[in-house]
């Protein structure tokens, strides 16, 4: 009888369990022994991997959420509806990662609510704190119908559905502010951040790269979900997202190059310094290579090609955020920093927990659309007006109602 409830022991489950145990241990050391005992941070390098990856990247990787919800609910492009639930879910998990990362990173986590009542509108961090709190709330509301549906709670679904559009618009505005404000954070260190990365348009660059990465994450997740859960998403949706990524990357590349030129920083690219190499790696691997890949039609319209390109964009994005927050600050700080094993361990812990939550949600909730046995014969009217809104659209499966 009991056997059913004991999960089968596999290699990956063992790895997962080991990461969980390590994560709990690191969390204990961090919370009870302090930051000095758990991190490689110092007075000269006050921000490390937890800010650079857990917070900066967590927010950016969640960027698919606000763009896809806007496209589906405000612009009414229903073609993207099938990927809405999984995108909102991963954005939500991304923000949970950010929140967890912040709790580990800030010196006094139990005061995390202080910005609610102690205001300083001149602080970018104040804006960031409010965006994190409010957008996490928006995302949980956007995702809630799927949970209510499972619980068969009719009334809450109805309530969330009536406020969907305001919710989506609020989510878009909060995300725009939040993505760009993470760049604004670094505007105040002009003498310290290396000139390859410091630019007055950092907020814009952070925003654009987050959008490209958000879309790439959608492709990345869809591919992995197909492999792991045998759920398939239509290739034409992903291919058209690939086209969007291509355009955004091109804009990003042009802006970045022109900005370097405007500031006379192009010559820094070739000075052979550590920073210039890291910059070339970031741009070459994360922007130029995927640009080249995606501009080939055969690659752009194949599962594997899209997957490889999107992984490169995501990794380039991670490199960019780490370069801005760590590599670019290193020389002026007068110290060295490499994350301690506990910083890396805690990050692995949070990421693994995110994957597990995603898998659990796919298993127990309707994150991916039900696979239809066969397409119903199309009515002539639908052929005449293909873009029309179907009145009874897939029942309540939508993450946020019509």
């Amino acid at each position: 009888m009991n056997r059913k409830w004991i999960p089968k022991i596999t290699f990956w489950r063992l790895v997962f369990a080991a990461i969980m145990v390590m994560g709990l241990y690191v969390t204990y050391i961090r919370l009870f022994k302090g930051l000095g005992a758990s991190t490689a941070l110092s007075d000269k390098v006050p921000w490390g991997l937890w800010v650079g990856f857990d917070v900066l990247c967590g927010v950016g990787l969640a960027a698919g959420g606000f763009t896809i919800t806007l496209i589906v609910h405000v612009f009414n492009i229903k073609k993207y509806k099938p990927i809405l639930p999984s995108t909102v879910l991963s954005a939500f998990l991304g923000y949970l990662l950010v929140n967890a990362g912040l709790i580990l990173d800030i010196g006094r986590p139990y005061r995390i609510w202080h910005p609610l009542i102690m205001w300083n509108p001149h602080s970018v961090m104040f804006e960031v704190a409010w965006c994190v709190m409010m957008y996490t709330t928006v995302l949980s509301l956007e995702f809630s119908p799927i949970i209510f549906e499972r619980l068969k709670w009719k009334k809450p679904i109805k309530i969330v559905k009536t406020i969907t559009i305001p919710l989506v618009i609020m989510g878009f505005i909060l995300s725009t502010l939040h993505q760009s404000s993470l760049g604004t954070v670094f505007l105040i260190v002009p003498g310290r951040l290396h000139p390859l990365w410091y630019t007055p348009i950092l907020p814009l660059m952070f925003f654009i790269s987050a959008i490209a990465t958000g879309f790439s994450m959608v492709i990345f997740e869809s591919y992995l979900s197909r492999r792991a859960f045998n759920k398939r998403l239509e290739l034409d949706i992903l291919a058209s997202i690939g086209r969007v990524v291509l355009v955004i990357l091109a804009v990003y590349f042009v802006l970045k190059t022109k900005d370097l030129y405007n500031r006379g920083a192009l010559k820094l690219l070739l000075d052979g310094s550590h920073e210039s190499k890291m910059f070339m790696l970031e741009m070459g691997f994360g922007v130029v290579a995927p640009l080249a890949l995606l501009s080939v039609r055969r690659i752009r319209e194949s599962q594997g090609g899209l997957f490889v390109a999107s992984v490169m964009v995501v990794m380039g994005f991670v490199m960019n955020r780490l370069n801005v927050s760590i590599t670019g600050m290193m020389r002026s700080s007068g110290a060295n920093y490499f994350p301690s094993w506990m910083e890396i361990g805690a990050t692995m812990f949070l990421v693994a927990a995110g994957f597990a939550l995603f898998a659990a949600a796919v298993k127990y909730l309707r994150v991916f659309p039900e696979e239809k046995p066969a397409a119903e014969p199309a009515e002539t009217l639908e052929l005449l007006v293909p873009q029309r809104r179907t009145p009874h659209n897939a029942g309540m499966a939508a993450p946020v109602g019509e």
Binding site: K33, G34, L35, G36, L41, D43, P46, W47, L70, V74, F75, N76, D105, I106, G107, R108, P109, R111, I112, P115, M118, W119, N120, P121, H122, S123, V124, M125, F126, E127, V128, A129, I165, P166, V168, I169, M170, I173, T176, L177, S180, S181, T184, V185, L187, I188, V189, P190, G191, P200, P203, M329, S333, G334, L381, V385, Q387, R388, R389, P391
Partner: protein, 269 residues
């Protein structure tokens, strides 16, 4: 009026009386890093070539640390000191990252840490006294007074003995001006001062973006709301048209021609 201190590096003999007075005044521990500013040292004297140079919080007129603090734990007082309220601080350490002089330090070894830095002995300054370090300085290398008066004094020293001083008061314009002013006999970058500081207050850089947020939220929200309304309205109308067409098509199968309906009218009469 803003108080300040004038530190004349040509007069410092490296006796470390200021360090000692600071340690006593602030009950600083001694069991941590003494090689730079730290939770054990709010001020430190460095030997740079032939000169001794004090390092401590510059008490900027428009401090980056106070502007970036999300909860307003750091504050610039009218009298000059930049002070810290440890009961507000959440420990994000943005102040440490934002400070152009890398002054604020952290109690890394504690489970409930605080930011630590020179606070310009604000209890004494507000009561009309002078900071412990200025009082302890035996040579007058560190003098305390009104910032305006100290600037005049510094200019006078430069004018009186031009051979002895660089014609530059560090802190007069750097990052919009600081309460601490420095004089030196050699170019400042030779004795460890940063030369790449901008001349305007750092908080302006972030404020120029932050101040646009309310407009962005209002205009963006209205615009997107309008777009959503227009597109959805169009969809609803389209649905209605489709429904009507369907209805007409259904009616048409059992009672197709309008001519027949037209003729039916006459039958009733």
């Amino acid at each position: 009026m803003q108080k300040g201190m004038l530190i004349d590096t040509t007069m410092c003999i490296g006796c470390l009386s200021c360090e000692e007075a600071c340690r006593e005044k602030n009950n600083l521990p001694e069991d941590c890093d003494q090689t730079d500013l730290s939770e054990c040292k709010f001020t430190k004297v460095f030997q740079r070539g032939d000169y001794y140079v004090r390092k401590m919080c510059m008490h900027c007129i428009e401090p980056a640390c106070a502007s970036v603090c999300p909860v307003g734990a750091l504050k610039k007082l009218e009298e000059g000191p930049v002070v810290y309220d440890e009961n507000k601080c959440i420990g994000c350490r943005y102040c440490m990252q934002a400070c152009p002089f890398q002054v604020p330090t952290y109690e890394w070894s504690k489970a409930l840490p605080r930011v630590r830095k020179c606070w310009f002995c604000y209890d004494r300054v507000l009561a009309g006294g002078m900071p412990a370090c200025a009082e302890a300085c035996p040579t007058g290398a560190t003098t305390f007074g009104e910032r305006g008066a100290l600037l005049l004094e510094a200019r006078k020293r430069i004018a009186d003995t031009p051979g002895q001083y660089q014609a530059h008061i560090f802190g007069e314009h750097e990052v919009g001006g600081t309460s601490m002013l420095f004089l030196a006999a050699v170019p400042f970058e030779q004795i460890g001062f940063k030369s790449n500081l901008i001349q305007k207050p750092l908080p302006l850089l972030t404020w120029s973006v932050l101040s646009k947020i309310p407009d962005f939220v209002l205009v963006g929200g209205t615009l997107l709301g309008g777009v959503a309304w227009i597109i959805n309205r169009r969809m609803v109308l389209e649905d209605e048209r489709i429904n009507e067409a369907q209805k007409r098509a259904q009616e048409g199968t059992d009672d197709s021609s309008s001519l027949k309906r037209f003729l039916d009218r006459f039958k009733k009469n």
